[in-house]
């Protein structure tokens, strides 16, 4: 014979389980019915403090495979490393525009730029930057040359540049441009000159 208090306890627990089960089912239904929030793939730029300065960006143009100088007014922090990051973010904002002369894939972002003395710059881009990049020798070369020439033209003393993807070394940007080695800034600047319109 089951004691009376044990039977009552069991009945209460069973009732509680049923009620909780019903509540969980209701909640699941509510979550399923809730409208999905659209994902915004645009990068989130950190706030920048500093006076606005005029800088020169070297923008790739697909229609003639050239690199053209373009002036821009952007807030520039005093820190050298942050200045380099802002330069590349300004360049990227041009490439992420729908009417860009050299479109990059959605979600492309500069994680950070590290300046290591003497003369080393390490640009860390996110995975989307490389994963969504168009494949081809010239199209990849334009992106790389534009970034390196922009950063070296506005930051003194950079001799070599390394590009990482999500903090890790990658063989190529999108199957062609070599990311395994350090770029020689002198050579890239020479290439940038060759890529100027009319050269």
């Amino acid at each position: 014979m089951i004691p009376r208090h044990l039977a009552i306890g069991m009945a209460v627990l069973l009732a509680a389980a049923l009620v909780l089960g019903g509540y969980a089912w209701h909640m699941r239904k509510a979550v399923t019915a809730a409208p999905e929030v659209a994902t915004d793939a645009r990068p989130l730029a950190p706030p920048v403090a500093g006076p606005t300065e005029q800088v020169v960006l070297f923008v790739a143009h697909d229609e003639d495979g050239s690199l053209r100088a373009q002036s821009a007014q952007i807030p520039m922090p005093s820190n050298r490393q942050q200045r380099a990051e802002e330069l590349l973010r300004a360049l990227l904002s041009i490439y992420l525009d729908h009417n860009s002369p050299h479109v990059l894939g959605p979600g492309s972002e500069i994680h950070s730029v590290f300046l290591i003395d003497p003369g080393v710059a390490v640009i860390d881009v996110n995975g989307a930057f490389a994963d969504t990049h168009r494949s081809g020798v010239l199209v990849e070369e334009l992106t790389v040359a534009s970034m390196i020439h922009t950063i070296s033209a506005n930051t003194q003393g950079i001799l070599k540049v390394k590009i990482l993807v999500d903090g890790k070394q990658r063989d190529t940007l999108a199957g062609h441009a070599d990311l395994a080695s350090y770029y020689d800034v002198g050579t890239v600047n020479q290439l940038a000159t060759e890529l100027q319109p009319g050269q």
């Binding site: 697909d62 495979g65 168009r134 494949s135 081809g136 020798v137 010239l138 199209v139 070369e141 790389v144 001799l159 070599k160 190529t172 199957g175 062609h176 441009a177 070599d178 395994a180 080695s181 350090y182 770029y183 020689d184 800034v185 050579t187 890239v188 020479q190 290439l191 060759e194 890529l195």
Partner: protein
Amino acid sequence: MPWISGRQNSPATKHKRQRSRRRVFSVCAIFFAVLLSLSAAYLSGAPADKHLSVYSVAANYALPLVQREGRDYVGLLELLEPLGQVTAKADGSKWRIRYNSSIEGDFQVGKNHALVMGREADLGGQFLMENKRGLVPVGSLGSLLPRFLGGPVTLHEAAGRLFIGSIATHFTASLAGENPPRLVFHFTAPVNPIIATEPGSLRMTFSREPIVSPASPTLTFGNKTIPSAIFSEGNAAAAITVNASIPVMATFSSDGRTITIAPTTVAVQNIPPANPPNAAPPTSAPAQNQPTAAPTTAANPIPRRYFAVVDASHGGDDHGETLSTTLMEKDITVALARSLRQELESRGITTLVLRDSDANLAVDQRAVFANADRAAIYVALHAASFGHGVRVYTAMLPYGGDDRGPFRSWTTAQRAALPLSQTLAGLVTSELQRRQIPVHDLPAPLRPLNNILGPAIAVEVAPQGSDVSQLTAPDYQQLVTSAVATAIANARDQLGAAP
């Protein structure tokens, strides 16, 4: 009265028994006859034994294939035996093979992967063991064998042909003379095909020679008498079928390196005005006075030296750019490489195509092969939907990479040859401009250009307009490759090496 045994029967019973025996014999005879005819029918309907032809510098040989689980399998030990010292050991479900006492491969029955020198290799199917014989899927040989042999391997799986190293024999075909026309085939190594003629065609079957397809398998000559020739391969052999409107015959010259197809004497008399070709008997069997074994490079252990190395970039898992939903860059680069090889060889320049099939080949391996071959020029081919016309690239050397004593830096191996590479790029650019093709030459951070010791350029071909399908057009491909080949031929002396 003699005793009659109880077992002795009357004549009627005896006769009955004999009839019964005869009936049993008849039934047995019919049964065996039916069995025999069924066996014969089964055997006649059975597919012919499949083989794999293996072409290598060491030996050319054929191996039987067995079909298991819907795939063709081949014995790995039997495959490697003619190429070096091989031993194999079975231990339960495990099987270990050792090649040249240094390279070890570990296999396990039922597993899709193997370990070769500790690195995993995908077999694309289960490893099987029968009577301690290790069987691997034929499809895996393209990626598995380079691990053992340390060199490129090209597998034509559907045709059952395996090329180990730079062994392929290439050929060109050109029409000489109009009346009567003569079709002249030039081969890069002596050949000895089986020749069969039938109305409307002459077929040359190459069972021992590593003949490979030209840029296009169908060659057209714009001649009514000999309109075309078709290259095909299958059943572990290659064949060239020459279509002709009149009976033709084949003659051999240049120690089997040249085969001339010309109308027979009788046929020539029907072509006004008559101009008889060189008298030679029609060949219907293996050519007389020709070596019986394929004397390609098998007889000569010294590797062939190529003047040009043409590299079809990407391949295998690396598709390169996806040019359209059905078009990959890796497919265009192979077509361009074959076309460039034909153009170069027609100018007397011996050429090695590094990737002649859809195989994986790392950039480091490409540089190793090009450097080992000491080619006078390395040309990497790329295709792109971006931009218009052609871009010619030279290496953009990375930072640093100084040579250490007698050792060249891998990342800047190109440094010494860069001026010559730039000169050649300029010549190619001029030739393309001369042919009205939009062209631009510039340095590019493109591997393996910087790892090549000799002169090296890369050619990226984009459509002239916006239609990407132009990249597949043989006319456009030939327009570009012909210009590149002309520039290389003109720079032959400058490049400073004899073909």
